[in-house]
Structure formats: C-alpha cells, structure tokens
Symmetry: C2
Amino acid sequence: MALVDLPRPDIEAGLESAHRAYEEFAARGLSLDITRGKPGSDQLDLSADLLTAVTAENYRAPDGTDTRNYGGLDGLLELREMFGELFSVPASQLLAQGNSSLTLMSQALVFASLFGTADEDSVPWASGPRRILCPVPGYDRHFGLAEALGFELVTVPQDDEGPDMDAVRALTAEDPSVKGIWIVPMYSNPTGITVSEARAKELLDLETAAPDFRILWDNAYGLHHLREPHAALLDILGLAAASSRPDRVWMFASTSKITLPGAGVAFFAASPRDTDWFRKHLSPTSIGPDKVNQLRHLHFFGTPDGVRAHMEKHAALVLPKFEAVERILAEELGDLGIATWTAPNGGYFITLTVLPGTADRVVKLAAEAGVKLTPAGATHPYGLDPDNAVIRIAPTMPSLDEVEQAARGLAACVRLAAHEALLARDS
Amino acid sequence: MALVDLPRPDIEAGLESAHRAYEEFAARGLSLDITRGKPGSDQLDLSADLLTAVTAENYRAPDGTDTRNYGGLDGLLELREMFGELFSVPASQLLAQGNSSLTLMSQALVFASLFGTADEDSVPWASGPRRILCPVPGYDRHFGLAEALGFELVTVPQDDEGPDMDAVRALTAEDPSVKGIWIVPMYSNPTGITVSEARAKELLDLETAAPDFRILWDNAYGLHHLREPHAALLDILGLAAASSRPDRVWMFASTSKITLPGAGVAFFAASPRDTDWFRKHLSPTSIGPDKVNQLRHLHFFGTPDGVRAHMEKHAALVLPKFEAVERILAEELGDLGIATWTAPNGGYFITLTVLPGTADRVVKLAAEAGVKLTPAGATHPYGLDPDNAVIRIAPTMPSLDEVEQAARGLAACVRLAAHEALLARDS
C-alpha cells in the first residue's frame, strides 16, 4: 500500500523505522559523491592507449599535415569524417575543435549575441531582450551558460518524446525574443529521454516570431548506449535540410565521455551556411585547435566501428551501476508510492522524483550522511524546481560498491523525508 | 652612394641589372613561404618527448589530481607555478588554459564587450563605440580580432621603447571610447622592440577618459631570446600593483612557440581582482582546460630552468636564419639606401622597411617569383600602411638554405621595385 494511504499511526511507526535506517547509514561515516556525470577511473583506463597514440614517429595526419604546427581551423579532416559518420553529419559541416562542447555552445551564443546569426533579418541578440526555452528537467550548465549571457530562461515541460510542443508553440509564436531551445536529443540529461523523429520535425517546422530561432542540439550522449533497445540517432541536419528551416539546428557533441573528459575533442555542426557563419566568427579568435590531440583520437579509434566497440566497453562498466541503483531503489522504495525513477537505456543519469516538497530535504539529509547529490532544483532554470521533487543521480564516478551504498543511503533519506512531510502535512 | 642620389642613366642601368637578377631568381621556380611565424620542424622536434610525457602510468598531477577527468578551471597549479616564475606572475593570478592565447584575448575582449570590466564605472563595451590603440607596425591578428569584435582601430606610432606616449595621451585623455592598447612587450611582432620599464610605467600611470582602460600585454615572445643582450622581462603585474592602476594589465602568453603551436598551453594573468573577473565569466563556458596536456608540459620541462634550457635550443636553430637574412640583406642592399631592417635579439620576425610606396610591389614581385610574404600593410590596422613601406619577414619555418634563397630573392625584388619607383618618380 502506498505510504500516503496508510493511517497516521502506521506512518508514525514508519518514521521511527526510517529514522533508524537513516541513522545507521549516517553512522557509517561514508563520503560518496554522485553529483556530476564524471566517468569512473575504470572508464578512463579504457583510453590508456590514447595518451601515447601520437609519438615523434607518427605526428602527421593522413593527408600529410604536421599536426604539431599552427593551422587548420576546421580540425583534422579524417577525424571529422570519422565522427561525421557516427553523428550523421557531412564532414564539411562538422568542425572539430578543443576539449569542450560547452565552450562551443558559448561561442555560438556569443557570436549570435554580438553579431546576430546568418539569417537575413537577424540583429545582434544582445541588442535586446532574449529568451531561451529550457525543457525540464534539464542540464544545469546549459541553463547557467544562457543565464550568464543574459538570456531569460523559460521553462518548458517535456514528455518521453521531447519538449511539449503546445507550450513551445505558445511561447515562440508571438515573441521574437525567444531565440532558441536547449535540446539534449538522446538519453537526455537527466531524464534519459530521446527526442522522437516526429518531435524533431515539429521543432524544425515550428513557426517562430524570431527569424533567427535555433535548436541547440547537444548530442552529448549520442553514442552512449547502455542496453537494448538502443535509441536511434537522428540525422537532424538532414531533416533540417529537408524542412523549410534548413539552418535551424546547431549541433554539439564531444568525446568527453567517450575518451577523456579533460582531454577530448568537441564538435560543432550546422547547415553549410551556418557552419560558414560559425567559422567566420571563430577565425579571428583562433589559429586552430589542438590537432595533435585530434590525431591521437584518430589513431586510437582507427574507424567509426572502433568508437562503437569502445562505447560497448563503457557500457559494460556503467550498466551494472545503473542496474544497482534501479534494484536498490526498487527494493527500498518500490511499494511506498513516494518516489519514481527513470531507467534509461543510455546516458549518464537517473532522475529520481520524490514526494513533492521533499527533494531539498532529501539532498540535505544525504549530505549530512556523507552522500553528496546535485542541489535540489539544479535541473531547473535558476535552480528552482517548483515541485521540489527532482533529484539527479550520477552513478558513474564511484565504484559499484560505493554506488550501492549511496543508493541504499539515498533511499533511506527519501523514506525519512517522505514520512516527515506526510506527518507534517497531516498535523 | 644611395640609389636615390644617382643620375638617371645610372638608375636606368641599375634597373636593367635588377631586372636580370630578379628574372634569374624567378627562373629557379622556387616555392618558399616566409609569411607566418611558424616554427620549423626542427624546432618542433625539440619537443618530441612532450608527445608521450603523460602515459597510463603517470597521469596524476603532483597534488593527486587525475588529469584525465573533468574539473580544475584554473589549470594545473604546478604548471602555473612553473610559468608564473618565468613570467613574474604569482600562480594565483595566472590561469593555464587551452592551446591559444589568441582565444584568451578574444574571451577577455568578449567578456568586456558583453559585461563590462570589473571596474566600478564600466558598462558593457559593446553598448557603445569602442576604440583600441594599435602601435604600428604590429601584429595583424591583434588588429583583426579587435576589428571583428567591433573596435575601431587607432594607429599609434612607436619607437624603440614602446608606443609614442604623446600620441597615446592625446588619444586617451578625452575619449572614453578608447578602451585599450595592444602591446607586445618583448621582441615585438614584427619590429623586435622591447618595451622599457619607464614606458611601461607611463602606460600604467596614464590618465584615461575611460575608467576601464586596459593594456593588452601579449608577452608572446617573453622567453624567446636569440642572442645577447637579452631583453629584461618586466614584472608588469608587480609594477601595476605598485601604481595607481593595479588592474590595468591583462597579460597573455603561451607555449605555442616554446613547445608545439598546435598543442601548447596558453596563459592569462591579471590583478587578483581582474583574474577573478575573468574566471567568473570563463566559468559558465568551460568545465576546465586540457589538464593532460598541461601535465605533459610539466613533465617535459620539470623546472623553469628546463624551459630556459629548451629555449636555448630553439635559439640555436633560429638565430642562424636571422643572421642569414641580415647578412644577405646587407650584401644586396647595404649601400643603396633603399631599405632598412631590424636585427632583433629575440622573437620571430625581421621588419624590412623599403622605399616608401614600394612594399606592395615587392610583395607582388616576390610572390610571382615563388616567395610568399605577408601582404604589404598587414602590420597596420585595416591592412593599410600609409607609407606602403613595411614588410614582415618570418624566417623560422623554411630551412636555412631556403631562408637564404628567399632573402636573396627578396632583395632582388626590393632593388627592382626601388629602381622602378625612382624612374617613375623622375619621369
């Protein structure tokens, strides 16, 4: 029976039991961190050979380029071909850059803010009010970046196929200050949903008051399958080219969670016109990316299939952690009706939805018991989750044993906070 | 006797001879490139061990940081300490970032453009007209970056100690839109001059109408001595701290011409307050730089003295090329009074000043004979050298033999263009 339906004395008894479980957990004096989507060191070890994949004997790219010297703003052609195949993007529309896709997103937004987009009617976005749509729960760094650049963050609900299009339509139809929408199209951070082709087409066909509306398509987890069925990677630039809005998509991706987060390669892709626009504004700011590191990636993977095989090794390390969290949450919370959680087939996160009003209490209890979680609300614009219910779990970084302990402790916190809230409500 | 003083028939005879020399040179069908300050491959070979200086066995920083994972926005502390010593900057005020100091300059200017500086009275620079002082001859990418960001470029003459302060004072005293000045303080690109301490202090003490005036101190060649006497590296942030304008300097540097141009480490430094300002605006755009590559540099050099010893190896390879250019120009042009050239004690460039009005003709003649030079005017804002006289020579990239051939050919072009011009003038 759901906790909420129990008679008060039973809840009171439950509180006592939940308190005991929590105290026992806290007494262990653990120090666990499941805040950020950082790969575990076992995952980083998978890329050990990347570190030495370019030596004094093989520093030339297949086309003869000495990768050690200046030049080559677009990045190494052969690496762009490799990841172009993986992301369904022609190499001519894919730029391989530095170690951070977040930096590329910031550059695209800065270029639009200072110069406007390549659209005929575009003026510099910073010359007036600007808003960006934020499907929730979403990625805190997306929201923080846009906020820092002066965008007002506008919350949009989403379902299993992507953002709620009625809400999107209502917000974009009349307001030319709504300049874009954040989308994590596959195994979304943090809910794990994947945008359907139908929804993507609706976003492409959307009539917007802004002539320069953009979909910020951050395919951060496009290759990060954990189990079957694998989500399908959309040919989003092909769909855009076939739509009436061929320039609407700016795509981002990186190898941060494929090879090494500190030392990967980030990618920008767009229509031919918008790729030219990005390159034009990038050009004064850089003589070119770190081609040596790009060549390392090329040597390390060899082929697109090399990347795919590498991602299977990641899944073999990561999936048991996701399964452990799911199993323990089911054991501890399964029949109480006080929490639901996602079981994504890929990506880096589990979203735990607790009794409304208790997420911040859960996070606080967990912190006091030695389990660090992302602050409640972080999945929402301005850190404000109106339901105070969403918690993001990042199970990759700790060991499997630590993940199990953290999940068990987290469940105790959820139970305790729920009991407290139900009794407070009824008193 | 100087060419200009010869009687016309002698100049006519000289033209014929110059023509023959040029045609002979052109007939060789060379293809040489002395346009950009790119290290030669022998210089890149000096850093061969850098490529494999981080392996699966030694990827942790001295403080235990796993450099492969996310985090550490400031860059590796130990590398900042190493280069902090070399550049006279406390490590706490030195940020180690990606592969490009040009990118850091663009970020500093973008942050100021969108948000204003940390000064109390600063408003976003992009909210109004903005100008930047450009001592000439200077670095074309400095000018291009500022122009792309909407700055009007204002030419300032310079002498052997730095920018002409009367001109600087006249331009900055009344006009609050003058926001900064480009300075390459050591072995300047392209003239090789080094800013004196007295001149630096004048720049620090300058009364400006703009409350947020900045010296963009690009110490790109701060460690790049070629021969004695070595120029002294100024403790510019210490001088600023002791002045009435402690926040006036933004310093930039990189290892692009120390290790590998494509795969080096770039640095930003400023006062504590402005370092905080830069970090605050950088933070939303990046989770951190490539720490693996920073650790490579730390391992490769070991100590600041390791860097100094490495720079001596560069000098041993580069100095003969500079000496060859100087020797050949002296042989070919020494007594004609149609050209002067710099003989810098460090850096990457020789500035050749030809008969006014002939620089573009020299560049064109050289290109047609197979020697690619930076376009005439590139050393000036908007590519416009009012005297049409300055040519930048970058002798590092080609082999010594090629440099000698290029210098010989270039001298033939200078002679031919001068004869043509003198005869056209007199006719």
